[in-house]
Amino acid sequence: MPVQLDIISPEKVLVSREVEMAVIPGAEGDIAAMPEHAPVMLLLRGGVVSLYENGVVTDRFFVEGGFADITADRCTVLADRAVPVSEISVDEATARLEELTTLWGRSDKHDDPQSIDALQAQILSARAEIDAASAAH
């Protein structure tokens, strides 16, 4: 029995099909959505969603933060931004990382912890995007 996987960004639906298993980058570690999984709702970190069929990865999508809703037969990924790994622009991601790093250097570390956390998450996400792209190419 497959899992119905949907990867949705605010603008459109990227993927909507049945897969054997999907590995999702949760904020506190990767989690695999498989049939009969206990219902979980989780926060995502920037990372790669891998789609498995017959034990091999068939597709990889980079998601930049968001949420996932896993139930026994369905897995819905609500991504802030999502792109197929093959279409990531390394230059763009590198530029973004540089911009974030300078922002990080300038920011006051005693500032409100929430915005520091958010910035940190963005930096990690940009790094993960570059890693994903260079691993694929």
Binding site: I8, P10, E11, E28, L43, F67
Partner: protein
């Protein structure tokens, strides 16, 4: 009676107006189709978001000190109104109806002794409200690109959230045109803060069924704190897309009417023109004939 030359000039000018209005109608029709497609493709995210919100709100309901976006500040003193309009005119009563509804709300809230603040979106609303209520405007957004990227809604959501966190507003309401079809858009208001949890009966049913089952990672509060601003942005995004579709629908209808009126006007002017021309010819003939008879 107007001279033949004047009539010719008028007919000529109406003909070129007609060309412009019919071109605008065609452009608006094409843009409307694209805007509708965008609104269509944005729907799955919004509905998935609503489902998660319902499940989460069910799990955390009734807790004290919830996030401001969900519960509001507990006061009802300062209202922020966000009228959404287009950047350009020539679309019938599309923007005027939003202005009118917003104005009615402002007057009603002020007569109830409440403070009103405005965050107009779109050049039309900005110019209208800076004439009449310039002291109420706290912020403004304009120059939204035609393809309405999500980042616009994101920016707007962040602004509203910041005002709320700073304690500058208690309630936030959106005023925009709901897109019914190309012919009709209905102005309406929608409360954004505090959040109105939709179809409460259905929500609680879902929650009861899944309450014990659902796991939350990292935990309910963290998720709720992240989901609420996103939810606000998604609602704003949906309203922005409806405004974009409505603007083009309204412009299409308005330009269709204008084209038809121009055609009618050309017809009646041509008739006057032809009659006048014929009358002139007849007059000349009568003059010639009576001249000949006199000889």
């Amino acid at each position: 009676m107007a001279s033949l030359k004047e009539l010719r000039a008028r007919i000529g000018s109406i003909k070129s107006t007609k060309k412009i209005t019919s071109a605008m109608k065609m452009v608006a029709a094409a843009k409307l189709r694209r805007a509708q497609a965008r609104a269509e493709s944005a729907r799955p995210y919004a509905s998935a978001m609503r489902r998660m919100m319902a499940e989460l709100a069910g799990a955390t309901v009734g807790e004290e000190g919830g996030p401001l976006l969900l519960t509001g500040t507990g006061k009802d003193k300062i209202h922020l109104l966000v009228p959404l309009t287009s950047d350009r005119g020539l679309c019938g009563g599309f923007n005027a109806s939003v202005h009118r509804l917003t104005e009615r709300l402002i007057r009603r809230l002020q007569s109830e002794g409440k403070t009103v603040k405005l965050l107009p979106v779109g050049r039309r609303a900005i110019s209208y409200f800076s004439r009449e209520y310039s002291d109420l405007i706290v912020d403004k957004i304009m120059g939204i690109p035609g393809d309405v990227p999500f980042s616009v809604a994101e920016g707007l959501g962040v602004k509203i959230n910041a005002l709320l966190e700073a304690g500058e507003i208690d309630v936030c309401e959106l005023v925009f045109n709901k897109f019914i079809n190309a012919m009709s858009q209905v102005p309406q208001k929608q409360q954004l803060v505090p959040l109105v949890v939709e179809d409460a009966a259905e929500t609680s049913a879902v929650a009861d069924e899944n309450k014990a089952l659902y796991d939350f990672e990292p935990d309910e509060e963290t998720l709720l704190f992240r989901l609420l601003p996103k939810n606000l942005q998604v609602q704003l995004y949906a309203a922005l897309l409806e405004t974009a579709a409505g603007e083009n629908g309204a412009r299409m209808t308005a330009m269709d009417n204008a084209t038809r009126n121009a055609g009618r006007s050309i017809d009646s002017l041509s008739q006057v023109y032809n009659r006048t021309r014929q009358a002139n010819i007849t007059n000349e003939l009568i003059e010639i004939i009576s001249g000949a008879q006199a000889v």
